[in-house]
Symmetry: C2
Subunit: 442 residues, 2 copies
């Protein structure tokens, strides 16, 4: 098809809108500004503190620490964070940076954990620990219980992943063979006051699961852990030391992880400083200012990417035909994390595959733009954050001799959008609050 100048213009301007809306989502998820904003709401706690110690772990910990130093300047007494190996930082002045491997922890992680904890020794109840938590924190802050070696801990994770146990069951066991997970980090921080500033990379923001909830009450018990071991017949598969420790715990010979309501949580605050929903709300505000009527469908998006794409087409069609549930020009916003069951050998990511599915399923819809990105800027094993497409994309592709069905079949969304020049690149954003998806219908 031939696009007149005018159509081309409108096409470009709508695409620009979609990208600007996504950009607002990224801005709202910025680790540094999110931390600074949160600290401004904590004046009371900060002013009362005799000394302020900053600790942190996770993929965003450097940026979050920078936010602390900028906001608090010389009020910080001491600090240490654990960041992924290889990330250099020259901006931090007070807070020390230790390294850890990710996603598989190694001995260096344990050493870093010990160093981080030593920064918190000799604290009093008049001191305040600011704990910066972000995705990846669970492996970066690794500190197995005394009776478990790192190798045994790693083997345990391995066995559990292959057992069919779900992620909650896996975490229940991990929390009970760790010295820091499941609220136990507090044992090293007390009697200081603690404020955890959390960048949520888990859909729904369950604080006990983000970085394994080191400062959060743990709702699971040694008894639960043992039930899971029995449920999946793991008594002889897990390291002996792990099974023995959990059996001891059941007999009351080892202290449980801190539970909701426990005294240790007095003067502990867990604050989500950034999450998917915060970004979606910022995106909605932007879309509204651009003249769109808006709806946030969900921040819990899940399911097979191509099927979610099909369903979103059904919503796009409804708005296109009926102005229901919202009027055109309309902006549908959602977030979460879809999944791709890889069957082909192509290159792609869940966001790119979602967009490709929409391209294929919305072929009868006029006037839409659809875009989706991973907020960390890395969609699947690609250098793209996601992709953008509109109602011309399918025709353009077919005219260029591309067969979109075959690219989808082969999980090759990256190479499809590479050729249509519809990939979105942001580079690593330093944050992760899951995915952002936007559909404009006009």
């Amino acid at each position: 098809m031939k696009i007149t100048n005018k159509e081309e213009l409108s096409r470009t301007s709508r695409r620009k809108d979609a990208l600007e809306i996504l950009e607002e989502g990224l801005k709202a998820a910025n680790p540094k500004s999110s931390v600074k904003e949160a600290l401004r709401n904590l004046k009371d706690e900060l002013n009362k503190a005799r000394r302020i110690v900053v600790i942190g772990f996770g993929k965003a910990s450097i940026k979050m620490a920078e936010g602390c130093e900028e906001e608090l300047r010389d009020k910080i007494y001491d600090g240490a964070i654990i960041a992924p190996k290889g990330i250099e930082d020259k901006k931090l002045k007070i807070i020390k940076v230790f390294e850890g491997t990710h996603p598989i922890p190694s001995e260096v992680n344990v050493e870093s954990a010990k160093k981080l904890i030593s920064v918190c020794s000799n604290l009093t109840s008049e001191d305040l620990v600011i704990c910066l938590i972000s995705g990846g924190g669970s492996s970066l802050l690794t500190f197995p219980a005394n009776d478990i070696s790192l190798e045994e801990k790693k083997l345990t994770t391995d066995v559990l992943l292959k057992s069919g146990a779900d992620i909650r069951e896996i975490n229940t066991i991990r929390k009970h063979i760790s010295k820091v997970k499941g609220g136990q980090l507090l044992n090293f921080l007390k009697p200081a006051k603690v404020v955890s500033l959390i960048l949520s990379d888990v859909v729904g923001d369950p604080i006990e699961y983000i970085a394994s909830g080191p400062t959060s009450p743990d709702s699971s018990t040694f008894k639960d852990a043992l039930s899971i071991i029995k449920k999946y017949n793991l008594v002889n598969k897990l390291p002996k030391s792990v099974v023995e420790r959990i059996e001891k715990g059941v007999r009351g010979e080892i202290l449980e992880t801190p539970k909701p309501g426990d005294e240790i949580f007095n003067d502990v605050k867990n604050i989500i400083v950034s999450n998917n929903m915060k970004s979606l709300v910022a995106m909605e505000k932007k879309a509204s200012s651009l003249g769109y009527s808006t709806i946030i469908l969900t921040s819990y998006a899940q399911g097979e990417s191509r099927e979610v794409g099909k369903f979103l087409c059904a919503v796009i069609k409804q708005i296109s035909s009926y102005d229901i549930p919202i009027k055109k020009p309309a902006c549908v916003i959602l977030g979460g994390e879809t999944t791709v069951t890889v069957k082909g050998n192509g290159k792609g990511g869940r966001n790119q595959e979602l967009v490709l599915s929409v391209v294929l399923n919305c072929k009868d819809v006029k006037n839409f733009v659809f875009a989706s990105i991973g907020s960390d800027g890395i969609d699947g094993y690609t250098d793209a954050a996601g992709a953008i497409a509109d109602n011309f994309s399918l025709e353009d592709a077919v005219n260029s001799g591309l067969k979109p069905e075959e690219f989808l079949e082969n999980n090759d969304s990256y190479n499809f959008f590479k050729q249509t020049r519809d990939l979105i690149f942001t580079g690593p954003t330093g944050t992760n609050v899951n995915d952002f998806t936007v559909a404009l219908i006009f």
Copy 2:
């Protein structure tokens, strides 16, 4: 878990709400009342007509014809409908009932088509034909072009279904080897005025696809038909007579199907008297009167049932946690038709599988009811219309020793809900406007 009386009561009352809302959807899709309502809006046309002839074909044609007789009484001059074999009717007084086989047409269908057409002979431009169209009409009204035998027509459909051609491509060819499909029925009705009252069983209501659009302009051509034959390499697979006819058509030796804007469509009205959206609107009204804030997500729902279930859980969670996009108590309404890719050997239907997926995926959500039915009252190859579940369902099932994951894996949703006593039975409803789905979050 133990349910107190109070909880049990609230559980029952919410379930009752959901069922009442679905019932409103069925009421709005009632073929008889829909036809009567539409006729009341056609007073002008009816009063002007010298003679009124009623014809019809489809699974709902008897009920639709009853509506005509009740509303028009002795104003009907003559009439004939083609209904699925075996359905008896004793109420119709003027309109004759002929039979046809469904979904595979046979010689009796062709005979019935001829009889139906003979009722329309000798009409003048002062006469009015009311044409009642519903799902199944395409096979019930079978009348192959002169140069094609019924066997060749059936073989053609068979070859096309196995070729990989999509339903639009298949219909393009079918329309061009028929005497009545794709607007061509009008050749037998003219010069009379024509009003088609259409019960839409196709998502999105494209009138040219409902019962193959016998009174609708056809946007496809002989040339398109030939391209499809070549695209799928069918020249040697299709009956010779079919390929020859289409080649003749391309050369202009056979009249094309009527096209949009053709004179034959003067004084022809195609009116959708009932469709999925009409029912969803009625359901919304009912939900609203019961005190729920409401949203119609889409009437175009599509995708693999279990994946749509996952995504709908994401919407349910969003409302449960954030009161977004609508406030609790909330009613989410949608319609369309999801699909099940059968892998197991269980018994079920797309609606039952959708509900089972929601049961499994919404395990952390408190206070919801979810129900889904096929508006024809027949979900898959079962005697149930669908199923209903709530946040207690999963726990109840597990406590009874049922493993919902295994039932889902085996596409055995019917036997799961049979044991939890959550199947919804309506019996055949005599209508079909696709599926209705309702989620209450409170």
